[in-house]
Symmetry: C2
Subunit: 346 residues, 2 copies
């Protein structure tokens, strides 16, 4: 088992090192072949490690960074003025070959802009996208959806590139040669949709490299009917957050119901193991770690509000991506679709 090195933006996310340090220690215990580079304020990180009875060592290296990117900072501002931020330095580790991947729970827009600036996109890709996987009704089958918030204003061509990348990712990871790709829309009939969706459907139908199967409505995301679902980042993020909000509302309402009477409290005790398994099978935290796809390097974005367990999941996701050699595989798939000239210059 070869060693894998991951750079962690230790200061990012709603909780910063309070979450990233315990998650790092947990990941090191779980993966004996893992090395981590904790990026952030060296003094603070050393102190916090000491509180956990740990010290930097062979497997846990601290890389100092003097700045932090705020959660509400504009990507342009972060890019211009935060050249020594924990986020930027963590991405630099990947660029410089010191890490195989980087994980951050920081400001999504800034992470996207910085990763694109530092690592550059793969040949044939104008903009990276955020992709994540969802469970489906078909046991073991994951559905991948992109873009989930990286690009709020997209061109038709961007959407086609998202379809290519999603398709290439599924080919690379799931050994599926012709992944089915659908376009997220508000109906399945041809007449439905806004102008952009209709134009993109035309482009996808005519693209020989994509196994395009038409529109899919948002209530069928979990159906398992397709491998890849494509949408712009604004719509994708609204869809994702709508699902999260509904899941939380149901969970909270269920808790309320189970607390209403003594009988229902007793029922809740018996129900607990069942609900726990249910939660594990659909918990978004379990699927924490959206990938930035389309870059010359692996960058995993954890949910900003991730807890220790969820941030550790994002580290696991990065390890999986490294093992599957995702960027190189996508690059090969993509370059097959490029005209000869572009392929040479790539």
């Amino acid at each position: 088992m070869s060693t894998i090195t991951i750079a962690l933006d230790a200061m990012g996310g709603d909780y910063g090192p309070e979450v990233t340090i315990p998650a790092a220690l947990q990941a090191l215990r779980q993966y004996p072949n893992l090395k981590l580079r904790l990026v952030g304020d060296e003094e603070l990180l050393t102190k916090l490690l000491k509180l956990n009875s740990e010290a930097p060592g062979e497997r846990l290296f601290i890389q100092h960074a003097s700045q932090e990117v705020a959660m509400d900072e504009s990507p342009v501002h972060a890019l211009r003025t935060k050249k020594d931020s924990s986020m930027r330095v963590a991405i630099n580790q990947v660029k410089e070959g010191k890490a195989d991947a980087c994980v951050s729970a920081g400001n999504t827009g800034a992470l996207m802009a910085t990763a694109k600036f530092v690592l550059k996109t793969l040949p044939g890709i104008d903009r990276p996208a955020i992709i994540s996987s969802f469970p489906s009704r078909i046991p073991g089958k994951l559905v991948r959806m992109l873009d989930l918030g990286g690009n709020v204003d997209c061109t038709d061509e961007n959407l086609v590139q998202f379809a290519m990348m999603g398709s290439a990712l599924v080919s690379a990871i799931d050994n599926n040669e012709r992944p089915s790709v659908a376009l997220l829309n508000i109906g399945e009939e041809e007449i439905k949709g806004n102008e952009q969706v209709k134009r993109t459907a035309q482009l996808l139908s005519n693209n020989p490299f994509i196994n395009y199967c038409g529109y899919i409505e948002a209530d069928r995301i979990f159906s398992g009917d397709v491998n890849v679902i494509v949408c712009d980042g604004f719509v994708g993020n609204i869809s994702l957050k709508s699902m999260e909000g509904m899941a939380r509302f149901i969970a909270d309402s269920a808790k309320g119901e189970f607390k209403r009477t003594l009988f229902s409290k007793l029922v809740a005790l018996c129900t607990f193991p069942v609900l726990k398994r249910l939660k594990e099978s659909i918990d978004p935290g379990r699927h924490n770690g959206a990938n930035f796809i389309g870059l010359r390097g692996i960058v995993v974005k954890s949910h900003g509000g991730a807890n220790v367990w969820a941030f550790a999941q994002a580290i696991s996701e990065a390890i999986k991506q490294v093992e599957a050699d995702v960027p190189n595989k996508i690059s090969r798939e993509m370059s097959a679709s490029l005209p000869e000239e572009e392929r040479k210059s790539a």
Copy 2:
């Protein structure tokens, strides 16, 4: 209690009269002051009523219509070639003063286009929108969201009008003089969002008739933090369907978990009453009946796949709208915001 007359598009929806007739009979039993005009194929409807041991009478009138609008028909085609469709004739009943409101489970786009053509919009409104209410974490507090799919390509001005209408509806129904209005977005910071959302936020901030409170993310729809949430119809429909899909996925997964072992089957028996109450409190069917808002008349859109119970809910929703005199109240609220000249010509 004064009589209320509702016209039903008896042929609309995925199931047509199989659902609309039993739902009509149920509503007549529930509301002694209700009269219904069943619009559709007279021969078929009479035959189906007979199977239910019923006949047309004082409270249940059949209005013949020779055509039907297909669920996948283009709105323009329906408008041009289906002048005697059950949908169009049902809307005509409202226009001609024979009914106080109309309910249809038919093709949303065609219903929207036909209702707009026949009834016209209120002064100051360019396009009607689809609005519905959601439960929230605050007991008894509903959150209203629009547009949920009526207008897929919107201008900034349309979105401002949606905000005005939503606000007016809440004022009219909930006696809330300054309903809070938020714009659905992918973040709450000012820098977030696509170009349209940013421009619309500017317009809303400067509008003295709207109590605008900024952006809201889709995972906070159920928070109860605001009264009205505004978005374009494409995004609104994706959000709605994403929530529905998640709720169904959770319900199905829960069923699966409860069937795994004998113990969990026994637990399920005890849990049943609790889950039933939970389902009732969040079931989208309970909130079936999205309203078309902005028209000179009341049109309620039932979910196409509504069952008898859910279609009856849509009829109840129409009754509520009639009792609250919604279009007139919105018209008064809207006209207060119009320049003097437009007010006179309205």
